[in-house]
């Protein structure tokens, strides 16, 4: 028997039952398991694992203390299995298909966008006009056969054009190449589910166990960040998801906390990431580099623009080393104007470099 067929029968048996079924009962009801006990057990474990990976809510009922001899029972509660109808229109479904085709996910999420679209394509209860509507007669209709593998649904061609116009001519790259690549693994997915449902999470970060109310996930400069309330520190914190050292455990009920209206989206600029005493630093920047400094510091940091296009920036600095590295990146096109102590720091750093000549 084909394994997929066995899995369908197993799932039917698990959905069909009110009372949890034992492994042996499932073996009798589901054809296709081996007569050999060891083989059966191994295959049953594998099937269970696959159903769990697919997100099927497999409930395991362990025997109570009164009957320790009894075996574990299994079932799948319908309510937890079934996807509610989000009420998407065909146009909305097409827009989602286009968005998904423009972004390619790396790592574990690679096939997830496709299977998500399968589910949404099936989720609408009310048939759209002209699409899968019940037909009174069985008379053969001359259906133009669509090209295989074409993503947007029938009747979606015009919707496609509209969607593109609406979204400001988002181009679909030629030859199926995506517009953007975004990494996403199960850690990010678990955090996102917790953010969406407002459930606290627990993980290890920076050598400490943390309990966090997760507020927002942001993708910035190629990295995922989590903003949230850190209960150990008693303050808002930003975490780099790739530095979370353990699995993320979700706990508590949905809606366990409320999120503030304004949550920092991404990391602050590097010169703000530190515990140095806060100091307002003024920079002079050549015209050619002004746009780059402005894009990192924000246009509000521009204190003055000169006739030659150069500009003065005022930055609030709590990490002096990061500031020095930032300014040195512009070579002779940027200069620390003040305060004197920060300017002197830069000068003595450069002098040490000059003086280092000759040393191996």
């Amino acid at each position: 028997m084909d394994r997929t067929e066995r899995l369908v029968n197993l799932l039917v048996a698990l959905l069909d039952t009110e009372r949890p079924l034992t492994r042996e009962e499932l073996r009798q009801r589901v054809g296709g398991y081996s007569d050999d006990e060891a083989n059966f057990r191994r295959n049953f474990e594998r099937d269970k694992e696959l159903l769990r990976q697919m997100g099927i809510p497999l409930e395991v009922v362990l025997p109570g203390p009164s009957s320790p001899e009894a075996e574990a029972g299994y079932r799948v509660p319908r309510q937890a299995y079934e996807l509610p109808d989000p009420g998407l229109t065909e146009e909305e479904l097409t827009a989602l298909r286009l968005a998904v085709s423009a972004v390619s996910f790396e790592q574990a999420a690679e096939g997830a966008a496709t299977s998500a679209l399968w589910k949404l394509a099936a989720a609408s209860v009310s048939p759209a006009p002209g699409l899968g509507a019940p037909r009174p007669e069985r008379a053969a209709r001359a259906e133009p056969r669509p090209a295989q593998g074409q993503v947007p649904a029938a009747g979606g061609q015009r919707a496609t054009q509209d969607a593109l116009a609406v979204e400001g001519a988002v181009p679909l790259a030629r030859g199926g190449a995506p517009l953007a690549e975004v990494p996403a693994d199960t850690k990010v997915a678990t955090l996102f589910a917790a953010v969406a449902q407002r459930r606290p999470v627990r993980f290890s970060y920076g050598g400490l166990e943390r309990r966090v109310d997760p507020w927002r996930l942001s993708y910035r400069q190629g990295k995922w960040y989590l903003a949230g309330f850190d209960h150990q520190r008693g303050a808002e914190r930003l975490f780099r998801v790739d530095r979370i050292a353990t699995e993320v455990a979700t706990e508590g009920q949905p809606g366990a906390f409320s999120r503030p209206a304004h949550v920092a989206a991404g990391p602050p600029p590097p010169w703000r990431l530190g515990d140095d005493e806060e100091v307002a630093v003024e920079l002079r920047v050549d015209a050619s580099q002004v746009p780059f400094v402005a894009s990192l510091a924000g246009p509000a940091a521009v204190a003055r623009t000169e006739a030659d296009g150069s500009a003065r920036f005022r930055l609030t600095v709590t990490n002096r080393v990061a500031l020095r590295n930032f300014v040195l990146g512009f070579l002779e096109h940027a200069e620390v104007v003040g305060p004197p102590q920060v300017r002197d720091d830069m000068v003595s750093w450069l002098r040490r470099l000059v003086g280092a000549e000759g040393q191996p």
Binding site: R3, T4, L7, V12, R29, G31, L50, M54, E82, L83, P84, P86, L88, A95, L96, A102, V103, F105, A108, G111, A112, S115, W118, K119, G132, P146, Q148, G149, E167, G168, A169, P171, A173, G175, A177, P178, A180, E181, V182, F192, V195, A196, Q197, L217, S218, Y219, R220, Q221, K223, G255, A265, F292, S295, L328, L331, H333, L353, A356, E357, P360
Partner: protein, 336 residues
């Protein structure tokens, strides 16, 4: 053709069945198109269902599948009246894709209004005014997904595809679509100079949170990859060009064999150089000192590295006097 795994096949089947059940004999072609599946695959999957049902598998306890006149009916499959709920990864993929594309549309709409900041992070979600044009089908779809994913799904996620001027991004995308050349004002980080050049834009894409243009550079006479956060402006030209038929995915960085080799000894305080820069080998010299071998792709690149590492990096070979010369130039800026 590779055979899909049992799990993948089952996932697809569990979506197709509820839809067919709800639609009283939809045309097979329509099912195929809706689920992006070939007719052969669909029929093979449906054939599996013929023998499925509940114990004792008498005919009245089996799922019934009829295929007739190019249409398909599925009956007695009440277990599968609804598709399976979304997994966390599926929810993430949907919402992240929608947020990324919506942010892109918003940035371009803002550019169209001629207002706002000269440069913006593109692909961000809620920042700035929500452009009315973007509140289309995708935005309403995203709002409806909260029912499936959770009440904070939309506000709890944002995806920024990279820093770039909206004007530059919009112009380049138009130029790619219309196959027209572009005048690109570009700051070369490696050479530390701003130049204007004519390019034939092939593809605009975002990778690792950074926008890139893959193009033929007429000035250099070769294929080039431009980081769009360093593009100052882009002007659409009238002249058309023919893009090559198969554009290969570009490599973002690779050392050229002609790049000079630089060997440095790094004190512990400069060990970040090993993590941040591509290198060709590290050797532990004891006492926390690492000896690293790098390819210097340009003078400005090497100067930045040495200026930042400062006294914590000692040149072993290949860069004698570079840091000193650069430091003197910078001290001159300070009037010294």
């Amino acid at each position: 053709m590779t055979r899909p795994s049992s799990g993948r096949r089952l996932e697809r089947l569990l979506a197709i069945v509820p839809w067919v059940v709800a639609h009283d004999g939809p045309p097979i072609a329509e099912v195929c198109q809706r689920f992006g599946i070939s007719e052969r695959e669909l029929v093979a999957d449906l054939n599996l269902l013929f023998m499925c049902g509940v114990y004792p598998y008498t005919p009245d306890s089996l799922i019934e599948v009829d295929i007739e006149d190019g249409r398909v009916w599925i009956r007695f499959a009440d277990w599968f009246r609804r598709p399976l709920r979304l997994t966390p990864l599926e929810a993430l993929a949907l919402v992240a894709a929608a947020r990324a594309v919506l942010g892109l549309g918003q940035a371009q709409a803002a550019e169209g209004e001629g207002a706002g900041e000269p440069r913006a992070s593109v692909g961000a979600g809620r920042q700035g005014a929500r452009a009315p044009q973007a509140a289309g089908a995708l935005a309403s779809a995203l709002a409806k997904l909260e029912l499936l994913v959770g009440p904070s799904a939309e506000e709890g996620l944002d995806v920024e595809l990279g820093e770039a001027s909206p004007q530059v991004l919009a112009t380049l995308q138009r130029a790619v679509a219309q196959r027209r050349k572009v005048g690109l004002e570009y700051y070369s980080f490696g050479r530390d100079e701003t130049t204007t050049r004519v390019v034939q834009p092939w593809r605009v894409f975002s990778s690792e949170g950074q926008w890139y243009l893959q193009a033929w550079c007429e000035k250099a006479g070769g294929e080039r990859l431009f980081r769009l956060d360093r593009a100052l402006s882009a002007t659409l030209l009238d002249e058309a060009f023919e893009p090559p038929s198969g554009v290969l995915p570009p490599r973002t960085y690779s050392a050229r064999p002609e790049d000079p080799v630089v060997v440095l000894d790094l004190a512990p305080a400069a060990s970040w150089v090993v993590e941040r820069y591509p290198h060709e080998g590290v050797e532990d010299r004891g006492g926390g000192v690492l000896r690293v071998r790098l390819r210097a792709s340009s003078k400005a690149w090497l100067e930045r590295l040495l200026l930042r590492a400062g006294p914590d990096a000692k040149v072993v070979s290949g860069a004698e006097g570079v840091a000193q010369e650069a430091a003197r130039r910078l001290l001159a800026v300070y009037g010294l």
